[in-house]
């Protein structure tokens, strides 16, 4: 592993992995719809952005997150700028949590994440439904929020593992 770390290219690739993951996830939302899982959808971008804004803010720059949001709007078909706004609010919430936290814990992070995605999805719903007259399904939204929240536990541990073993960041818990 030490040999790997010394190799500049691999080191750069590993430290840029969150950014690659972010752009891959917005360009290709992994919804597993071909498996016919009717009640399964989650927002991987939210998990990734929240985790890295909270734990390792230099991993994902705000400008890249803004651009990823624009890309997501184009892919999903929502008004341009809306996803960027939601992603940046998520970053803001994560940065606020980082500033007020003295003793970090995964459960607290998760609860704060749940509250944030509830607010974000409500804002998204209100904007799309009331201003842009998009029809949205409440049930799908709830399913999405619940799965995103539950999967935060899993992905948070995976990202911790990745940061500790591959990137070697001492700040990651």
């Amino acid at each position: 592993m030490t040999e790997l770390r010394n190799k500049k290219f691999i080191k750069k690739l590993l430290s840029g992995m969150p950014l690659i993951l972010l752009f891959v996830s917005v360009l290709n939302d992994y919804n597993f719809n071909f498996l016919d899982l009717k009640y399964f959808s989650f927002n991987f971008s939210y998990i990734l952005i929240f985790y890295y804004s909270l734990k390792k803010s230099e991993g994902l720059g705000y400008t890249y997150i803004f651009i990823a949001g624009l890309f997501n709007d184009v892919v999903v078909g929502t008004p341009i700028g809306l996803s960027s706004l939601m992603y940046l609010i998520l970053c803001g919430a994560a940065a606020y949590l980082r500033n007020i936290t003295l003793r970090p814990s995964l459960v607290k992070d998760c609860i704060f994440f749940l509250i944030t995605i509830l607010i974000i999805n409500s804002l998204l719903f209100i904007t799309l439904n009331l201003i842009y007259n998009f029809e949205l399904d409440y049930f799908d939204q709830i399913i999405n929020i619940v799965h995103t929240f539950l999967l935060y536990f899993l992905f948070s541990n995976l990202f911790d593992f990745f940061e500790n073993h591959f990137v070697g960041n001492i700040h990651a818990r």
């Binding site: 719809n33 949001g69 184009v74 892919v75 999903v76 078909g77 341009i80 007020i100 201003i131 999405n144």
Partner: protein, 282 residues
């Protein structure tokens, strides 16, 4: 009390105004940018539209490349699934083929007769052009059910053209870029098209649900709609030609008149984009 309010303000200020290392913009600045994009975009501001078109072209192409691994997994999964169902499907197909061959002869006669009669009343629509397009990406997001195709205004694609998978209707073009276009699928919540339900000749509106099926709305003869009835486009509004097959009614799941589409929208790879014009009456 005063101290906790100060802490809150400091934390908020630090979160939204402080620039991190290698950050060019603060969070608040970028939030303003997003809001400007949103507001100007909704006002159809020209510069924003050009930015949007440029992003569209980049994103649609890169999305096609990025989604290759997922498509590979998806295709292999479907190949395995198809192999497992092969024997059962073959038996079913054999029996259906016998029935269809006999029906086909009768249909050919009816189609010719219908064409002749519609020509007499000057209501016969003909396909103007058929453009074949490849599906670049099919995003089943919770917000929109749409696909991106690799043909745009360069290939004479216009807004409102209809999109078919073989002989089945799948949607219509809602956004045209230079080299690509977005097709709103019939399953989208915002899709509403006039249809006719046979037998009984019931005119109604087919609405998308955001899932893989549609529902029948707004019909006085709602209760007369039977399970297994076939849905065709009604031709009202002259956007679609009448009689394009769409799906079949299924009332097994609930009281609502659910429409199972003939075409599987998650499996679209190539589609036909067509517009209809009135034929010159002879």
């Amino acid at each position: 009390m005063e101290t906790s309010r100060d802490d809150f303000v400091i934390a908020i200020r630090s979160a939204f105004l402080k620039k991190g290392t290698q950050q060019r913009f603060s969070l608040l600045g970028l939030i303003f940018f997003s809001l400007i994009f949103l507001i100007l975009g909704s006002l159809n501001f020209k510069a924003i539209n050009y930015v949007k078109i440029a992003i569209n072209e980049i994103v649609y192409r890169s999305s096609f490349i990025v989604s290759t691994p997922e498509k590979f997994i998806k295709n292999n999964y479907l190949v395995v699934q198809n192999h497992l169902d092969l024997y059962e499907e073959n038996e079913k197909n054999k029996s259906e083929l016998v029935k269809l061959r006999s029906k086909d002869l009768l249909n050919k006669f009816i189609v010719l007769e219908n064409k002749r009669l519609k020509n007499i009343i000057d209501d016969y629509l003909v396909k103007s052009d058929t453009i074949f397009a490849k599906v670049l990406s099919d995003k089943g997001s919770p917000f929109l059910k749409s696909i991106i195709v690799n043909k745009g205004s360069k290939h004479d694609i216009n807004l409102g053209m209809i999109v078919m998978d073989g002989e089945y209707l799948v949607g219509k073009v809602v956004e045209v870029n230079y080299l690509s276009a977005r097709v709103l699928l019939l399953s989208d919540l915002n899709s509403k098209i006039p249809v006719i339900i046979e037998p009984n000749e019931i005119f109604s509106i087919l609405s998308g649900t955001g899932k893989d099926h549609g529902v029948i709305q707004y019909s006085k003869k709602y209760d007369n709609i039977q399970s297994e009835s076939v849905i065709y486009s009604s031709g009202a509004g002259s956007l679609f030609e009448a009689g394009i097959p769409i799906g079949r009614i299924n009332t097994n799941y609930s009281d609502e008149k659910r429409v199972e589409f003939f075409s599987d929208f998650s499996q679209l790879r190539f589609v036909k984009i067509i517009s209809f014009i009135k034929s010159e009456s002879e």
